[in-house]
């Protein structure tokens, strides 16, 4: 019954828009990941299935190479073109190498978007970033401020002094720090993404700033090392460690109380949003153009920039209430 209605709908709406879906029962959306067997992407696939169930009449093809190579992804893309899928949503292993294959897909009427890890503008209709620099910068200080109602001294433990991402996030954080009353950023130190150096820098912060209330580490090596240093100093709970980290890496430190909350993108939401966007673009319900909005179901809508990319949402906050659900995922 469903098949018939969707067929009818497709033929009636007809025209040029639905040409590829006209001869398929369901809309088939391929979620192409960097490599199979990575927890983060398995979680994204879960989100994609959730979106498919919500939309109805959508089949998710979760696929990718067995190792993270561009060659492997090109093979996967070629086979998807042969299968005449309706949309490809890809997290790319190489920004440029995939462009020719993806262009070929678009010429065959396949909707192509990238998410998580992007491809160059000519190889996709739009790119979905998990978050944006201003949102991340705001979130890392907000998490510290939320647990410090009376304010206090906080310090930043970054990766290397030349790390582009971290520097942008810290810059964005410093722009909004004034919105959080009583929060003072007293120092920014660099652990170079080395466990031992980050650990020492965290120890140094504790001894040179006796009133320190929180350490913000927007790097996964740094946040783990800082949490360990705080625990070893017997200050778990007194000095809060927050920033960006992965649930699997931080689970023990949330248990010990060294970290109350930290953030990173939610892969389930990311897979969900990528599927919703692919669906809307393939259906012709939205167009990928600068300044345009594309619906993402329960996550609202993404607004595209001039380079046709957009940010999904605030980084997702993990704490004692949800860490156990996510620590096995990624």
């Amino acid at each position: 019954m469903k098949k018939i209605t969707s067929l009818l709908a497709a033929t009636f709406l007809g025209g040029t828009l639905a040409m590829s879906s006209a001869h398929a029962d369901d809309m088939r959306i391929a979620l192409v990941v960097k490599a199979l067997g990575i927890g983060f992407f398995e979680a994204a696939a879960k989100g994609a299935e959730e979106a498919a169930a919500e939309l109805g009449g959508v089949e998710i093809i979760y696929t990718g190479p067995t190792d993270t190579t561009a060659e492997g992804q090109i093979e996967v893309i070629n086979s998807l073109i042969a299968q005449k899928v309706d949309a490809i949503a890809i997290s790319a292993n190489d920004q440029d190498a995939l462009v020719p294959a993806l262009k070929k897909a678009m010429q065959r009427g396949i909707t192509v978007i990238s998410w998580d890890s992007g491809v160059a503008a000519e190889g996709r209709l739009m790119h979905l970033n998990p978050s944006s620099n201003p949102l991340i910068g705001n979130m890392i200080v907000k998490m510290a401020a939320d647990h410090l109602p009376e304010g206090g001294d906080v310090a930043v433990l970054s990766a290397s002094a030349t790390a582009t991402n971290q520097n942008i996030w810290i810059e964005e954080m410093n722009k909004v720090v004034g919105n959080y009353e009583g929060i003072n950023v007293v120092a920014t130190v660099y652990g170079d993404d080395l466990s031992d150096k980050s650990y020492r820098e965290a120890q140094g912060l504790m001894s040179s700033h006796p009133d320190l209330k929180a350490i913000i580490a927007p790097t996964s090596v740094g946040i783990v090392a800082a949490a360990q240093a705080v625990t070893d100093a017997g200050k778990a709970g007194e000095i809060l460690v927050t920033g960006l980290g992965l649930p699997s890496e931080m689970a023990a430190h949330v248990d010990s109380g060294a970290s109350k909350s930290f953030a990173i993108w939610n892969p389930i939401d990311l897979g969900y949003a990528a599927t919703m966007i692919s669906y809307n673009l393939a259906k012709g319900e939205a167009k990928a153009m600068a300044g345009g909005d594309i619906g993402m179901g329960r996550l609202g809508a993404v607004t595209l920039s001039d380079s046709l990319d957009g940010a999904m949402a605030d980084p997702f906050v993990y704490d004692a209430s949800n860490i156990n659900d996510f620590k096995e995922i990624f």
Binding site: L205, S208, V224, A225, Q228, A252
Partner: protein
Amino acid sequence: MNGIKISRDALLAIVLVCLIGLIYLRFPGFASPQSLVGVFNDTSILIILALGQTAVILTRCIDLSMASNLALVGMCTAMLNSALPAIPVPMLVVLAMILGAMLGGINGLLVWKLDIPPIVVTLGTLTIFRGIIFLISDGQWVNAHEMSPAFKALPRLTLLGIPVLSWMALFSIAFMYVLLTRTPMGRAFYAVGGNPNAAVYTGINVGKTRFNAFVLSGALSGVAGYLWVSRYAVAYVDIAAGFELDVVAACVIGGISIAGGMGSVAGAVLGALFLGVIKNALPVINISPFWQQAISGSAIIIAVVLNARSARRPGRIILKKAEQL
């Protein structure tokens, strides 16, 4: 000869005390006994590795694979612990030592049997060991919650006010001191490095002695591997990346002659402590991260220049005298 060595170690000790004094002027908390115990504890792993490297350098070789060996053994023990938490931790430490010794033995065999220059061999195994970590771990981290509490607790346990991590370093120092000064094997290290040809005539098997030195440095790297992953409660492919250079630097600062045959346990320990003090002081004296690197580098060069001046070999002069007669 002996007089020079003692004075050089004493000189380094004086420099170290002056350095701590300078840091004290800028950040008084640094010189508190508690803080100094912390610095020693933090430097323990470097000391253990520097002692192993000393044995190798004494035989006129070099072991660049120590940090990779540490990382590989660390990853193995962490994976073993997370898969079979029932294995008692002391046994894991022994396993780590054995595995490290085997990896060191590979270096030793290549140097001994195939006569490949040690720098080439260990540069190769440096990369190979890292590659193996990736293969066995699939690039995944072993995280704190996957390790058993006992696994993480051992180096933090305090005995007589000092953590076990520091005791391990103290024990290694005592062991190496006895080995190098009181055993035939230790004397063979000096003989092989000082003059390999002469060593052969005294009945020392040069290749085998070098093999022994590599096994020793491997075993110490293995123990350090366990200590590292349990101290930082995380194991991943890149742990201790580049640390081999710190180890060599510690030895060079400590007056272990790269030409072999000269050096002492005290020198290696002081060299490691010198680096350890700088590494621990830089975060608290509030210096730009770009200057920090320059300062660490300059300290190494200054120490080496001082050593090079005092390490002029008196042997040549004796020969000249012989000619004049």
